[in-house]
């Protein structure tokens, strides 16, 4: 990281240079609900770190904090040595040029063909000859196996293909950090495995730091090097996926074992049942 403005107060468990993203004391209130209450988190360089947790715990919100799309109420978020909450809009854009982001719903630009979608970041930021743009785009499309679909429009693609095009687009500028937001949602087992394999290959061949937001443990344990489990506004557990699966805590048992009730309650908080049904005797 070799930065000079790095906060000296950070008591990272690992050496600072190993962490690409470092979050300290994150606190977020969203829509009147306390989403994060003192989250500390380190994303090591060159590894795939999975952020897991039940639906609604704010996994996506957490990555939106990292990219500066959403401001946190308190806390420090260092991305490659830069403190995101203090960046101006221009600096944020500079930061994001080094981040590839795969959206939950792919977010392809519907007006443009597959080729133009993948070429979009290049055309917007660099003045390259058409020849070079074409070569870069086609190699990326080849990497995700969709070179033949270059002239199709996004509406003509299946969900899995859209995800792969979005992946090609996200990595077109060789980002230092890739963020995958729920990349497996809504994919059939074949497409899921294709995406999974791509994420793993990208990380192994290019040495990209990756953040994988997901809740499918079976898929995550095959890809991730490190897992953070978020629940109840805190980091409930973290560690290697295998080790985490074997650890015996109520959170991990419920989440990885898929039990319906546990620390994450089945029931939404409500008034007394008998009272709601109108039995005053029960309330007394």
């Amino acid at each position: 990281m070799n930065t000079t403005n790095h906060s000296p107060g950070s008591d990272s468990p690992e050496p600072a240079s190993a962490a690409y993203v470092q979050i300290r004391g994150l606190r977020t209130v969203l829509g009147g609900k306390l989403l994060f209450d003192g989250v500390d988190l380190d994303i090591p360089r060159g590894k795939i770190t999975a952020i897991m947790g039940p639906s609604g715990t704010g996994k996506t919100t957490l990555v939106r904090h990292i990219t500066g799309q959403l401001a946190a109420d308190a806390g420090q978020i260092l991305v490659d040595g830069r403190n995101v909450p203090q960046l101006s809009r221009r600096q944020l854009f500079e930061l994001r040029e080094g981040i590839g982001y795969l959206f939950q719903n792919s977010a392809l630009l519907t007006d443009f063909s597959v080729f133009e979608n993948v070429a979009f970041p290049l055309r917007q930021h660099l003045r390259l000859p058409e020849e070079i743009v074409r070569n870069i785009v086609l190699t990326r499309l080849q990497a995700v196996g969709l070179r033949g679909a270059a002239q199709l429009m996004p509406a003509e693609l299946s969900g899995g293909m859209m995800r792969r095009v979005a992946l090609a687009r996200a990595m077109i500028r060789d980002p230092g950090l890739m963020i995958y937001d729920e990349p497996f949602v809504g994919l059939d087992p074949i497409a899921l495995n294709q995406v999974l394999k791509l994420i793993r290959t990208l990380n192994d061949t290019l040495g990209i730091t990756s953040i994988l937001v997901a809740h499918e443990f079976a898929a995550v344990r095959r890809a991730a090097d490190l897992v953070y489990l978020i629940a109840g506004g805190k980091i409930a557990a973290h560690g290697h996926p295998q080790e985490l699966a074997e650890r015996d805590s109520p959170w991990t048992r419920q989440f990885f074992g898929g039990e319906a009730d546990g620390p994450v309650p089945f029931e939404y908080p409500a008034r007394d049942y008998a009272l709601d049904l109108g039995f005053p005797a029960a309330a007394a």
């Binding site: 990219t67 799309q69 854009f93 500079e94 994001r96 040029e97 981040i99 982001y101 959206f103 939950q104 719903n105 977010a107 392809l108 630009l109 519907t110 979009f120 970041p121 917007q124 930021h125 687009r169």
Partner: protein, 247 residues
């Protein structure tokens, strides 16, 4: 309720400033601006031309009937041209433009919001204000006056068809009277300015509604409706103010 409306007006005003601030950056995306002129301008031509023709024809009929009562049918060309250039051309074109192009701008941006395309641009370090909103705004300002001119031409031709070919007014009287009384700057160009302002207002409302819509299908539907309703009201109100104070 009025507080909400005021807050909306204030937010739209701030939005206008951020659009204007994004215009220098959007000049890099001139291709996108050209594409938008094609979409909001050229694609609106058919409806504008059809309506212009019919408005000119009915205007000619009505005014002929009225002028005949005063024996002033010779002034038909003048009255038709003045009503079209100063008032009907800009206003009717603006209302059609709001319905045809404004709604599609709102729906398009709203859907881009709902499908995370705007966030995706932000994440690719592309400012959606400069890439999506500003080109549409510029396209509205450029396309509206051109459409109003086309509307006026078709209106005059429609009026000529009814007045001269059907009702038997003298061809020379129609054109001569018109050209003797219509001023280029006072009548024609003022109408063109007016329609440029209308174009800006409609594009502002349409992009604002699309940009701030809740990202649901219901939200986009409501935003589209609001675009038509508010731009129609605002266009007519601004029309009165501009006519009263500037012309």
């Amino acid at each position: 309720m009025t507080g909400d409306a005021l807050a909306q007006v204030g937010a739209a005003g701030l939005f206008l400033f951020s659009i204007l601030a994004a215009i220098p950056k959007s000049l890099r995306h001139y291709r996108e601006t050209l594409r938008q002129i094609w979409f909001v301008g050229a694609m609106s031509l058919v409806i504008i031309m059809t309506c212009g023709l019919f408005v000119g024809m009915v205007l000619s009929l009505q005014l002929y009937y009225t002028l005949a009562k005063f024996g002033g049918t010779a002034a038909l060309g003048t009255v038709v041209a003045l009503s079209l250039f100063r008032e009907l051309g800009p206003v009717v074109t603006a209302l059609l433009f709001a319905g045809r192009a404004g709604t599609s701008m709102t729906a398009e941006i709203g859907l881009m919001r709902a499908t995370d395309q705007l966030s995706a641009m932000e994440m690719m370090a592309v400012d959606p204000l400069a890439y999506v909103v500003a080109p549409r705004f510029i396209a509205g300002v450029i396309a509206m006056p051109l459409l109003a001119c086309v509307f006026n031409v078709l209106g005059i031709l429609g009026a000529h068809a009814v007045g001269v070919s059907w009702l038997g007014l003298d061809n020379g009287t129609f054109w001569g009277n018109m050209s003797a009384n219509v001023e280029v700057w006072n009548d024609l160009v003022n109408g063109v300015w007016k329609s440029a302002v209308f174009g800006a207002v409609i594009a502002l409302i349409a992009t604002f509604q699309g940009y701030t819509t809740p990202p649901t299908s219901e939200g986009v539907a409501y935003a589209t409706t609001r675009t038509v309703v508010s731009s129609s009201i605002v266009v007519l109100a601004i029309d009165f103010v501009m006519t009263a104070f500037l012309m």
